[in-house]
């Protein structure tokens, strides 16, 4: 299975991406020399703690911030030329954010929220993909009911809101979905539903995921390969099982041993 994955071409490729904020002495290197590629059909995990640069990287990939050096190829074509973001195929790349509470406009009805990404598409594609039939099939698939469409986000629980956000990301039939801490704001039992759903959707729609998280056990459960970020740099990269079984870097080891575990009681790795 692994050998098969490797032959597939990368959907997105980051080459020595850098991001600096500020100038002169107040310069901060948020991301330095980040290079990795994500192959079609895999789930690539990006893990790091606050300030590791993983969110900055997500912003660069989604077009919210421009890199100060390096390049990003999506489907072989550069995403950024200078400060200009090239939306090569609108809707081909989508994102699900961490906090569904704040990623859904409180004044919009669920139907308008889910259909919103279609407004970036040419009108022909918008009509096709926004048909009532497709919309209803999609919301049924993510576990919502037709009468939910006319409601507002505050009427839903956290888990349901994240389902709305997932439906919104899938309405354009993307090939690549960035999941930015999609379950960090959710309860454990709700997280289980959402993770299951994401896995199923990936299989059914042949999606490629970039899964950003600070939670090691979620990354282990969800991803094929992963990169560990620390202070703006990628310190370790490999298959999930390799990294969990044989972490090479000291930081990865610390990260793994800090994770409170249910059954093994206290090892003392920090000393």
């Amino acid at each position: 299975m692994l050998g098969e994955v490797i032959r597939v071409k990368p959907i997105i490729e980051l080459i020595e991406v850098q991001k600096e904020y500020g100038s002169g002495t107040g310069r901060i290197q948020a991301v330095s020399q980040a290079s990795f590629s994500i192959r079609q059909g895999e789930t690539f995990g990006l893990i790091g703690e606050s300030g590791s640069g993983k969110s900055t990287l997500a912003k660069i990939v989604t077009g919210l911030e421009h890199p100060t050096a390096g390049s990003i190829l999506y489907d072989g074509k550069p995403l950024w030329t200078g400060k200009q973001f090239n939306r090569i195929q609108p809707g081909d790349m989508q994102i699900v954010f961490q906090d569904p509470q704040s990623s859904l406009d409180p004044r919009m009805r669920v139907k308008d929220i889910i259909l919103e990404p279609l407004h970036a598409l040419p009108s022909q594609a918008r009509k096709e993909k926004g048909s009532e039939e497709r919309l209803h099939a999609l919301i049924a698939r993510v576990g919502l009911k037709p009468d939910h469409l006319s409601r507002f986000p505050h009427e839903f629980s956290g888990g349901q809101r994240q389902r709305i956000a997932i439906a919104r990301a899938l309405i354009t039939d993307p090939a690549f979905v960035i999941l930015d801490e999609p379950t960090s704001a959710l309860d454990v039992s709700v997280q289980a539903h959402v993770l299951n759903l994401l896995k199923e959707l990936k299989r059914e729609r042949k999606l490629t995921y970039l899964f950003i998280s600070h939670n090691m056990s979620v990354i282990r459960y969800m991803c094929d390969r992963m990169a560990v970020m620390y202070k703006g740099k990628i310190v370790e990269m490999g298959t999930v099982s390799d990294i969990f079984d044989n972490p090479a870097q000291a930081y990865t080891k610390t990260l793994l041993s800090s994770l409170p575990s249910l059954h093994q009681k206290k090892v003392e790795p920090h000393v």
């Binding site: 939306r87 809707g91 989508q94 406009d105 004044r107 970036a120 505050h154 009427e155 629980s157 349901q160």
Partner: protein, 289 residues
């Protein structure tokens, strides 16, 4: 609070409107007064048998009586009737001016805040220029330059009101721009104009509505002030400010002439201010608690 409740199965047991009115009786009083004024002015032809502009010299300066409740003016027009018809004008103009200024100001302010940079600089310096003048002086200058009539008075008041809304909407936009749902829309590739109209303005509108309700009272006073100064509605239009303007010269001899229009003005602007305060309490629960 921390007891989170799933609100998907909401059953309303208390009507929110009455709930807030009970908590805020002053707002209710404002609404009642306003509704009475509105009904009176709307049904003015049924309530009064006089015409607001019909001159009747032999009845001039009649004191309040059963025939003329608020007396008559220097050419014998019934003051009560003129106040009723004047309410249409004063209230209508006040509301229209503030709504117009609110709408234009919000659009300009959200554009300024959303794009930032040079556009923002130019717009805000322009607004600073308007704000640098005392508002009444500027309104008088505009009205006098364009010619003394009601339309120009409205325009003048709108111009001096716009910067308030621009600042308000801009400040709101600056914080909304950082909201995740706005960022989400940007990543979807939604065009700025659509983001402004669909996300920014609907979410920035609460403080604007509060300001609008608080400003209507003020605008009514400003319309009257310009009328009083001869820069607004021209005679024989039954406008409260213009009525007071003529009437105050007769205050010592015929007290009723300026007193009743003045009282109407006071009631109307008071009602709007009470409603404005109430609306602020509802839409912005953080303030004033």
């Amino acid at each position: 609070m921390s007891a989170e409740v799933h609100t998907s199965t909401v059953t309303r047991t208390v009507n929110p409107f009455w709930y807030t009115c009970r908590k805020n009786p002053l707002m209710l009083a404002g609404i009642v007064v306003l509704v009475i004024i509105l009904l009176l002015s709307l049904f003015a032809p049924l309530i009064s048998s006089y015409e607001p502009t019909k001159i009747n010299i032999k009845d001039r300066f009649a004191p309040p009586s059963a025939e003329h409740w608020f007396g008559t003016d220097e050419v014998g027009r019934d003051i009560f009737t003129r106040i009723l018809y004047g309410a249409r004008l004063s209230l209508g103009v006040g509301v229209a001016v503030v709504l117009g200024a609110g709408l234009i100001g919000t659009v300009i302010g959200s554009i300024s805040g959303y794009f930032g940079g040079r556009i923002d600089q130019i717009i805000m310096r322009l607004m600073d220029m308007i704000l640098a003048f005392p508002s009444l002086v500027l309104a008088m200058a505009v009205a006098a330059t364009l010619g003394p009539n009601l339309q120009n008075a409205m325009l003048a008041i709108a111009i001096i009101k716009i910067p308030v809304y621009v600042r308000l909407a801009r400040a709101e936009t600056l914080s909304l721009r950082e909201k995740l749902y706005v960022k989400a829309a940007v990543t979807f590739g939604i065009k700025p104009w659509r983001i402004i109209t669909r996300h920014i303005i609907p979410n920035a509108i609460s403080p604007v509505i509060i300001q609008v309700t608080l400003d209507i009272g003020d605008a009514i006073l400003l319309v009257a002030t310009l009328g009083f100064l001869g820069l607004g509605a021209q005679p024989p239009t039954p406008e409260w400010g213009a009525m007071i303007s003529v009437g105050w010269k007769h205050l010592l001899d015929y007290w009723w002439y300026p007193t009743f229009p003045g009282f109407a003005l006071f009631l109307a602007s008071c009602a709007f201010n009470l409603i404005g305060d109430g609306v602020r309490d509802i839409l912005d629960p953080k303030a004033n608690r």
